[in-house]
């Protein structure tokens, strides 16, 4: 048959996803939206009454909110990794993941960005955190890692959005073609009147290359900065030089897991097996395995440092992590992040999508717990024994609600994405058809 028909088929099959939403879709959407709503209510309660409604037990001043922040920023990373880094490496399997991955990046960052504000004691003056000329003639303290966050995450978000959008332009042009009425208008506007002329393609390729080039250092930098929120402090368990690489690896690890978690059901429901093959999954599973090994290595190293360094504070802390109030979580973390992924050495398991899916879920859990353990346990055992926590920190319904809300928000956004934008980058797929 004629090539064009192949292409048309691809268009049809991929755009099929954007058809009328089915009952299942609506149900899931309704569910996630309710999560968001309840999360918002919890936050409002906290806003009115004060941060005390959360379960903080001094000296544990940071807990679930910061955990979520780190977790979501982490999730964002693999998006950039897949779309930018793999682009530069010309990895073939990238094309089948990059669109959902990029979408994930953007949404994860939207969610992550909320948490620094949620965890503020006085959210109503959040704007103090932004450097803008004001009548008070005050600026921010650029020495504070929290301000680095503002810049790093802000930049990351902007760049990811641009990258995501640029990738979409030619596809939007295709959508424009198949839509009618107001939708057509909208998509034509979004596609900026893309034609596919030679000139456009030339500049487009160049732009895409440069964006990829710009985004790649972000993969390393953003989570390093996030890790410095902790590493720059003097707290035993936080103040370690290995935190930056350790966190970046962790971020990609968790992000990759999340990609799998999202793409497996997507491929099943939207029948995209032709475009997302098991080989693709296998190669991404390899990334998962690799990063898992790095993370496990980091666990060993930080414990080793504490033990070999002979610093009483560090030693006590790591003893406490493994055998103290939070030991259950610590061992969950080890199991999910270090032990379970080892099974992926077996090729059969790598290619077993169902199994891969389960592993990815476990890794998601494990990585969330990892952040929690790092943050909470270190705070609970610092220098002055008098202030060691007298009883365990437990999140309250507010924190739980807001956390669930954040997941709700993420998936809501993702579901909307499925119905409004092409879920795979069609043009790129065509190139390789």
């Amino acid at each position: 048959m004629a090539e064009t028909e192949k292409y048309d088929r691809a268009d049809r099959e991929i755009l099929a996803a954007m058809g009328k939403p089915g009952r299942l879709y609506l149900l899931v959407l309704a569910f996630t939206v309710t999560l968001v709503a309840s999360g918002f209510l919890c936050w409002y309660h906290q806003y009115r009454v004060g941060l005390g409604v959360a379960g903080y037990t001094h000296p544990v001043n940071w807990a679930v909110y910061i955990t979520n922040f780190v977790f979501w920023v982490g999730i964002a990373h693999s998006g950039t990794l897949i779309s930018a880094v793999l682009y530069l490496f010309r990895a073939r399997f990238r094309t089948s993941f990059n669109r959902p991955a990029e979408a994930m990046t953007v949404f994860a960052l939207m969610v992550a960005g909320l948490f620094p504000l949620i965890h503020l004691g006085r959210p109503w003056v959040f704007y103090y955190l932004f450097p803008y000329p004001n009548q008070r003639q005050l600026w921010v303290n650029f020495r504070s890692p929290l301000i680095w966050d503002v810049f790093a995450v802000g930049t990351y978000f902007t760049v990811s959005v641009v990258f995501f959008y640029v990738g979409l332009i030619p596809d939007l042009a295709i959508v424009r073609r198949c839509k009618e009425g107001i939708r057509k208008t909208i998509y034509s506007v979004l596609s900026l009147g893309w034609e596919g002329t030679r000139r456009q393609w030339r500049h487009y390729n160049m732009l895409y290359l440069f964006l990829a080039a710009f985004a790649t250092p972000l993969v390393a930098s953003v989570h390093s900065v996030v890790s410095w929120d902790f590493a720059m402090s003097i707290l035993p368990g936080w103040h370690t030089t290995i935190f930056a690489p350790y966190f970046v690896a962790g971020a990609i690890f968790s992000g990759t897991a999340m990609v799998i978690t999202l793409v497996v059901p997507m491929r099943k429901i939207l029948v995209l097996d032709r475009y997302i093959t098991d080989d693709h999954f296998e190669s991404i599973a390899k990334i998962l395995l690799f990063t898992s090994l790095i993370v496990s290595y980091a666990y060993v190293v930080e414990t080793g440092l504490a033990w070999y360094g002979g610093n009483v504070f560090e030693i006590e802390l790591f003893r406490y992590r493994a055998w103290g109030h939070y030991k259950a979580l610590f061992w969950t973390m080890i199991t999910c992040n270090s032990l379970v992924p080892l099974t992926l050495f077996a090729r059969r398991l790598r290619r077993n999508i169902a199994y891969l899916f389960c592993v990815s879920l476990l890794v998601n859990v494990g990585m969330w717990v990892e952040r929690f353990v790092i943050i909470v346990s270190s705070l609970a055992r610092d220098f002055d024994p008098y202030v060691w926590d007298t009883q365990m920190y437990r999140p309250t319904f507010v924190e739980v609600g807001i956390t669930l809300g954040s997941f709700g928000m993420f998936f809501t956004l993702y579901l909307i994405f499925l119905k409004t934008l092409p879920v795979l980058s069609i043009t790129e797929i065509k190139e390789h058809l």
Binding site: A2, E3, T4, E5, Y7, D8, D11, P131, Q137, L138, W139, V140, N141, F142, R143, I147, W148, F151, A152, G154, T155, T158, V159, V162, F163, V166, P170, I174, R177, S188, V189, S191, L192, G193, W194, E195, G196, T197, R198, R199, Q200, W201, R202, H203, Y204, N205, M206, L207, F210, L211, F214, A215, P217, L218, S221, V225, T427, E428, K430, E431
Partner: protein, 145 residues
């Protein structure tokens, strides 16, 4: 304007394109539309590379400079000692400068792209002749130039 030739096979389209070039049709007069970026086209009709990188460089540079200027000046405008560190402590400022480099770089590259490729174009947003997934060649008449 001239009637476009529409092809359904990439090879066939490329053949025609080569032929046209051989026949000595001025490159400027050949207008090509493809459903996706086709590397061969560039080989057949070579052109000096895109200028997008200029924008990238300019943006990035301004980001770096701006980043340092901003942090240093704002701290000097109200010097406050924190943690016994000097007012102008470069190491942390590097991080800010770096972030801004990437940010400005990316944005200005994007703007550059829009400028160079004449996007967004209102006319085409209004109406654009769609060729679906076909490869199209239009040869503009001499007097067009």
């Amino acid at each position: 304007m001239a009637k476009p030739m529409i092809f359904h096979e990439k090879e066939e389209f490329l053949k025609t394109l080569r032929r046209l070039v051989r026949e000595g049709v001025a490159k400027e007069r050949i207008r090509v539309i493809t459903p996706f970026s086709v590397a061969e086209v560039e080989e057949i009709l070579p052109r000096m590379p895109s200028h997008v990188q200029v924008f990238a460089l300019a943006g990035a540079a301004s980001g770096t400079v701006g980043g340092f200027a901003f942090t240093i000046l704002s701290t000097l405008s109200w010097p406050l000692i924190v943690g016994g560190k000097p007012i102008v402590s470069i190491p942390p400022f590097i991080i800010i400068a770096f972030a801004l480099t990437i940010l400005f770089g990316a944005l200005s590259t994007f703007l550059g792209f829009l400028l160079l490729s004449r996007l967004p174009s209102i006319r085409r947003i209004r109406s654009v002749e769609e060729y679906g997934n076909a490869f199209v060649i239009t040869v503009e008449p001499e007097e067009a130039k």
